[in-house]
Amino acid sequence: MQHWSTTLTNFFVGLGLPEPVAMAIAFIIGATALAIFAPTLALGLIWITRKIISRIQDRIGPNRVGPYGLFQTVADAAKLLSKEDISPTDADRVAYNLAPILSVFGVIMSTAVIAFAPGIIGADLHVGVLFLVALGSLGILSALMAGWSSNNKYALLAGFRVIAQLLSYEIPMVLAMLGPVLLAGSMRLQALSEFQSLEIAGFNIGLGWTAFIMPAVFLIYFISALAEGEQTPFDLLEAESELIAGFHIEYSGMKFAMFFLAQFLNSFFLGGIAVMLFLGGWQGPFVDQLPILGVVYFLGKAMLVYAVTQWIKGTFPRVRIDQMMAFAWKVLVPMVLALILWQMIALKLPAPTWVQYAAILIGNLGALALIVVILNRHLSKEEIRTKRAFEPTSLIGTMQPAPPSPGN
């Protein structure tokens, strides 16, 4: 499949431009498309989130501005544009203003390596997967700068908390990404998507998803991505209902909007990475005949994953910070390391490919079963059950009357 830039360049060369100029124009057009696509997508994502969450909470959600309230986010953006831009005294000017820019910069850059369809990818970097992870460190940097420069204790504390969270979950995430890379033998996202084809009688139905071979690795990636995207149940940073806003507490107006935008896009793209690595990317029926269908498949799958994260947001309670850290280091990391080890052994079994894949699948199912057993045993321990039922650690928000004192 020809890369889009080649097609565009050839078109401009056909118009009589010299080749370097034609290529530059093609690149600028492509980059502009991506840079416009990302913020527009964010407007849509915010609308979808509000609709899903309000349905879960038995509300209607935005329904005034435009059909189905579609333009509500546009109105909100316009409102934020007209808000005063307050910066606290003693804030460190440079870092304070750079932090929101950096956070948006990171998410827009990650569109560069997203494989939308065969031949439609900004730049098919040979280190694609690691490039995406590296952009994640920009998010860490921006949290650090925002927290430090605001000259606010809460912002600094929240910044440190969120960095500890992002760091802890990056390890299981990267290790889970190693699974598909080992199978496909490439870090290019286009190659990873191409790898997940499945031909039955010469027709590609596009269901060779790596998630079918390694469900446990996929689950680990998904959980880590929830934490990396600061989504419930790992949204300790924001904890909208009980804490103040986190490291961006001192930001207002458009600068705050930038953090907001970056967060929504980030969780969408983390879902997009899950689709590219585990859920077949742009693969689907008829995509070989009509490549542009890939865009529909990819965005559809990514939206579905995003909807699931919002569903989780509307359903699950938040975890405590100690639970969160322990979960990353004591459950996810050992498990994914063991799974990768098993996969390495299975891939070198002297047997046909399908036997190797079956071995990987068995290992993954075994890991899932092990987790269920351990969790079951842990949660059914008598002391934990009593503690959960009768002794909440804090009475705030539990709706229970205080236990009667023994003196009565």
Partner: protein, 175 residues
């Protein structure tokens, strides 16, 4: 264009312009790291320099190295340095000068070092071959293969070294 040929120096190619941009970024970062009195600004300058160095690696077509530079230096080392700055903060802001009494002599030595080195480097006729690379993806795979064949001993030793560093650092840093 006859006008351009008359210039006393050749026009830079696109790659050279990009190199100058990246080098400017790196130099700015390095200067902030060395000279700014505020420790946090030092750390930010260091991050800028790290990004610049990653850009230099890209220009040298060492893709994997560039991405590891960002992941390890920016993502982990710079973060760790900032954590340490926060943990050891105390009297270091503003009250005393940020440099010690060796400042002047060190500045002179560093400047001389740079000037002498530059004078030497510019005058040596380095053999510049710069052969075409076979393919970037192939190169990354070759790198991986070398880790477990040619460079097996340093590779495994490195793992052990990191393990030892981890153990030692945890012992030191715990309350």
């Amino acid at each position: 264009m006859p006008g351009l040929d008359a210039l006393p120096f050749p026009l830079p190619t696109v790659q050279q312009v990009i190199f100058i941009l990246i080098a400017g970024m790196t130099v700015t970062g390095a200067l902030i790291t060395a000279l700014a009195p505020n420790l946090f600004h030092n750390a930010l300058g260091l991050v800028l320099a790290f990004f610049g160095v990653a850009g230099v690696y890209v220009l040298l077509e060492a893709e994997f190295l560039a991405v590891s530079q960002v992941l390890i230096y920016v993502g982990a080392i710079a973060t760790l340095i900032t954590f340490a700055i926060m943990l050891t903060r105390g009297m270091m802001f503003g009250r005393t000068s940020s440099t010690n009494r060796l400042m002047l002599s060190t500045a002179i030595i560093s400047a001389l070092f740079f000037l002498v080195l530059t004078g030497l480097l510019v005058n040596v006729a380095w053999p510049e071959i710069g052969a075409e690379l076979a393919g970037s993806e192939q190169m990354i795979a070759d790198l991986g293969e070398m880790f477990v064949t040619t460079y097996l001993v340093p590779f495994e030793l490195m793992a052990l070294l990191l393990l030892a560093a981890l153990a030692g650092a945890i012992l030191l840093a715990r309350d």
